[in-house]
Symmetry: C2
Subunit: 370 residues, 2 copies
């Protein structure tokens, strides 16, 4: 069991990383000061896989925990599901002393955390992330949100959990594509903050991809450390935290332009990083060798879905709707060198658009015909 503390003064909390943690959730959380059973929010698939172990462990520590199950998938991260969660909490007589255990991936964490942020003006919550993506990224930092028809995560809050339980054994049940999707985010974290982690990824990728305990745990712990350090220095994303957005500007636009159907989030970020590397290179940032080295690592993580059929117009329209993409001063994150990010302000829209056109053309031409 490894513990990383996210140091946010009165909102300080531990991230526990280890094998089989879910089976010890009850005793761990009891030691953290929780006195009664939580309300579990999860989805059906995750609950089938991990529910029994979690319930049994909570049972011993607190007595029976009620369970609210939501649908599986991003489309359930909406107001309609949120209202159902509120209704279920009320039906369960949840009050200000209740707390929520979010068991699942990013969707469950985001909506359960947002419910915790807003139910009775905020109740505590604990995140038990069961995907690599949520273990290395969304579970740390307290960003919670839901989607509206007009865009993803447009409604949300900052609501730090009281603890995070990352059971690396849960990653064994993860579809390989989900695992790789999470790994692109690990590459992102390493790229902006940690050359040693980049080296580790390059050396140990096969072991990581086969979810070997030692390697996967190291990767989760290091990625959490990076995320925690960035969040500690800028909880509300007013400055430095933006570097976590590396690969995400174009990544989000790719997801939106394809209606969130073609790419897993991490895959879009993978493409977004490649695009940022190429554009950064045109802007005179990062040497050609380093660029090639990182692109190679991204490609080794696994095959990225094709960019075929994506027009620069649709990509641009999506970019213009990005809530972080203010029209007056477009900012993007680049690498100054491997392991070090740089925020560039005043990106010239016309130049970026032309680059995207070239990038899409080049990638689409170089792909094998289907």
């Amino acid at each position: 069991l490894k513990t990383i503390h996210v140091e946010l003064k009165d909102r300080r909390y531990p991230v526990f990383v280890g094998q089989g943690l879910l089976g010890h959730a009850g005793s761990l959380l009891r030691r953290r000061g929780f006195a009664a059973a939580p309300v579990i929010i999860t989805n059906r698939r995750v609950f089938r896989l991990h529910g029994p172990a979690v319930l049994q462990s909570l049972d011993k520590a607190f007595g029976r925990a009620p369970v609210i199950k939501i649908g599986d998938g991003e489309r359930f991260k909406d107001h309609s599901t949120l209202l159902k969660i509120y209704k279920a909490l009320i039906r369960l007589h949840a009050n200000r002393k209740s707390w929520i255990l979010a068991l699942g991936g990013g969707v469950v964490g985001d909506i359960a955390g947002y419910a915790a942020a807003t139910f009775m003006r905020g109740i505590p919550w604990v995140m038990a992330p069961t995907t690599l993506l949520s273990q290395v990224d969304s579970s740390v930092g307290g960003k919670v949100a839901i989607n509206v028809a007009e865009g993803k995560n447009l409604i949300g809050a900052f609501h730090q959990p009281s603890a995070v339980l990352s059971d690396t054994n849960a990653l064994r049940t993860l579809p390989k594509r989900e695992l790789r999707s999470g790994l692109y985010e690990v590459v992102r974290s390493a790229a902006i903050q940690s050359e040693p982690l980049l080296c580790y990824l390059e050396r140990k990728l096969p072991g990581i991809l086969s979810v070997r305990s030692r390697e996967i745990e190291h990767v989760v712990v290091e990625a959490v450390r990076i995320k925690a350090a960035v969040v500690e220095s800028d909880e509300r994303e007013s400055g430095l935290r933006m570097i976590l957005n590396y690969g995400h500007t174009i990544g989000h636009a790719l997801e939106a332009a394809t209606d969130y159907k073609k790419f897993k989030h991490g895959e879009a970020v993978g493409w977004g990083m490649i695009a940022a590397l190429e554009y950064g290179s045109e802007l005179g940032l990062l040497g050609v060798d380093q660029k090639a080295q990182l692109i190679q690592l991204i490609q080794r993580v696994g095959p990225l879905p094709s960019l075929r059929g994506i027009s620069v117009e649709s990509l641009w329209d999506s970019l213009m709707l990005d809530k972080k993409f203010s029209s007056a001063d477009i900012r993007m994150v680049f690498l100054r060198k491997l392991g070090q990010a740089e925020i560039r302000t005043r990106i010239e829209p016309a130049s970026l658009r032309k680059f995207l056109q070239r990038f899409l053309n080049h990638q689409q031409r170089s792909e094998p015909r289907p």
Copy 2:
């Protein structure tokens, strides 16, 4: 122009109180560092009364401010109105740098503040309260919320405004019953924290009720000071802030038991204070003279709607649904003496219920037949 600072460290903000402030909103807020026009959220009635002055003033300082109008009344403080506000914000291309000016009473403040708390994980907002109730109470402290079918303010957040503009001239256009409703909350604030303000209310009540500038301004300033001091010591309502709940436990139950149709909020608090005084007296708190003195002041504010037709069963059921009313340890606020509150824990439910039965019987018997 009087300024009271609510000292909440990095969320410190000023409450401006004065005559004709709304006509200076633009210059005041420009000096506070706002650089662009806000999105105004208001209701039709308030906008008809105060919109032109506010718009003109904002025009000069920032250019034209877009306006989102919601329905007038508590029933519009719901998810359906909230979703309309989100949609309007998105249509207006609001982004993280946008800010909201809430122009109106408690309903507008609560829902506009909640929209500000959750839109893109929180954007700044300024409250311009136009009712006495919101000037002396809800505009200070950052509690924002919406209602769900199961109860009021069950969904919400703490989101401090960047400034509050309380124009006492706006109170001249207020229906007298609304004015009195706000005054009961002033009595509440004085009762728990300030004997001098109680004396002032006793001496100057006629002037206050006729909205004389000097008197009404004094009352607003003092009530804001009291509220600010309590909020400063307990922003998230984990302890002391509960004393603001004086008269509200039974008050809320009266409102809920009558489906929020019979009483204005302040009127219910008026009754709630009378009940708390009687029950406190039975528990051996506060002398008979002081009790009578405060009940007399409450009654002088104006006639309270009859309690006829309210059963102890319906009152009790409502009480049990109160989110602050935890079944394990019922807490209620009483007065130790005039101007000093005391939180009593472990209230005996059976004893409280019996008291309520006696109280309702007594009040209903002593009322003149309709």
